[in-house]
Symmetry: C2
């Protein structure tokens, strides 16, 4: 069954080079897309107050603020900077009424080969910021990233790991389920079931292209790749998840080169036909 | 503890553009590297009989023949072709006394988005060729590949999946453990323990570079990346594994551009210092 069009959200990174935050809010709203994920650099550029007002005036739901995390650090000063940065991100997420702060855990600290150690730093960092997030009423969404980012970006690479972290941390922490990162995992269906409605704070869509020519910036538009999005959406919605389907595409040679209004139009079409 | 230098093997793909099989045998032996993994196209070019003689004359152990597998097919004719091809590979592995036939499972059939279905095809294909492999006395080594290859190359992406396949298939099937594909997996240590000495048919080494600029052809020399190779080797050898440490590097812009003798020399040095 085709998804409800009102469930479509777009992560502003999908039109990162084309639009400022103000332009994205207006551009999405113009095509009746009422969910947006916001990036912190774009938010800073716009100003938090101004953005909050614009978002409200355009009836936008902020599906997530991107992003916190990046906990593993080479020393105590690096760790403290990461924690402080996460606290600022929580404040910003609160200010724009984001449904969650998206956390990308971070990879190996400079010079380290200790992936287990990095994972412990992530668990510790999450535990540090969690009380602050709870006070602010901002859910933390751990986003497991594809294993190809384990070294330099995110050492949480499966929904199983994210669920384990949620078990250990308790209320206030959940998961952002992104089909790009997780589609390959044989344990995905079980992991989504285990997460359940409570923990699934966001559902991100795009597609895996064959071939993929860049590890970071060659994500595909839904329908242009090989991910069975309806199947994964079915698993997610079987938990009772009734939130947005957020398109997040980093595509330096294709979608970032196009007219942004066209990108939004194609997102809407594909959401209705292949998601 | 530094590894025994006599345990070093080199996969001939590490010097693919530089050397024919005959040159690789001579080149490796010249530097006293007595283990080699052979590729089928290079073997065909050399001639199986000629290669078998040369390998024997140079005292080389063939750590594996690359490769069989590629089971998922869009139709019955495609499946039959894959099975026939695997049977020929088994005959070749037997002819050169390879310790195993390395199997890369295959990805999604053309036009398919059904990763579970592809995985079933792999299990079925393995079951089909297994009696033939047993008769020939050729162990089949399932090589789990990194999840970034799940779509187009190999839908077996963790050692857990490989162990499950081994459980289902019984004797004659094992696993090729490659640090490049598996280093990120939080369940790797447990998976290696579960596999045990019996199942670990090969141990492949290289390194994960940061950044990695190509999904396929940017593997690093041991020591140039972030994989804790001694730690993983420790897990492997704790099972009782006493086979070779096989260097397998696909590196179009670096190692494939260098003098092959130099590549072998660097493999030997790094094997002694960072593996």
């Amino acid at each position: 069954m085709a998804p409800d069009p009102s469930r479509l959200a777009i992560n502003q990174a999908t039109v990162r080079p084309q639009w400022t935050l103000a332009q994205a809010i207006e551009g999405f709203a113009r095509q009746n897309v009422r969910g947006i994920a916001v990036w912190r650099d774009k938010l800073a550029e716009c100003g938090v107050e101004e953005a909050a007002t614009m978002l409200r005036d355009h009836g936008m739901t902020v599906t997530g603020l991107c992003r916190g995390g990046m906990f593993p650090a080479a020393d105590a000063a690096g760790l403290q900077a990461a924690l402080d940065n996460n606290k600022r991100a929580i404040e910003e997420a609160h200010a724009i009424d984001a449904r969650c702060l998206v956390l990308v855990a971070g990879g190996l600290p400079e010079g380290s080969k200790d992936i287990s150690g990095a994972r412990r730093m992530v668990a510790d960092g999450l535990a540090e910021i969690l009380p602050f997030a709870r006070s602010a009423g901002v859910p933390l969404a751990i986003e497991p990233l594809h294993p190809m980012y384990a070294a330099d970006r995110c050492c949480v690479n499966t929904i199983g790991q994210a669920n384990d972290l949620c078990d250990a941390l308790g209320a206030g922490v959940g998961i952002a389920v992104d089909v790009y990162h997780l589609w390959w995992d044989p344990a995905l269906e079980a992991g989504i079931r285990r997460a359940g409605k409570e923990r699934i704070l966001a559902f991100h869509i795009c597609d895996w292209l064959v071939p993929t020519t860049d590890l970071l910036l060659d994500r595909g538009m839904m329908g242009d790749g090989i991910i069975d999005i309806p199947r994964i959406r079915g698993w997610v919605e079987a938990t009772g998840y009734d939130g947005f389907h957020e398109v997040e595409i980093f595509s330096k040679d294709n979608w970032w080169q196009r007219d942004a209004d066209e990108v939004v139009t194609v997102c809407r079409e594909r959401h209705g036909t292949v998601c």
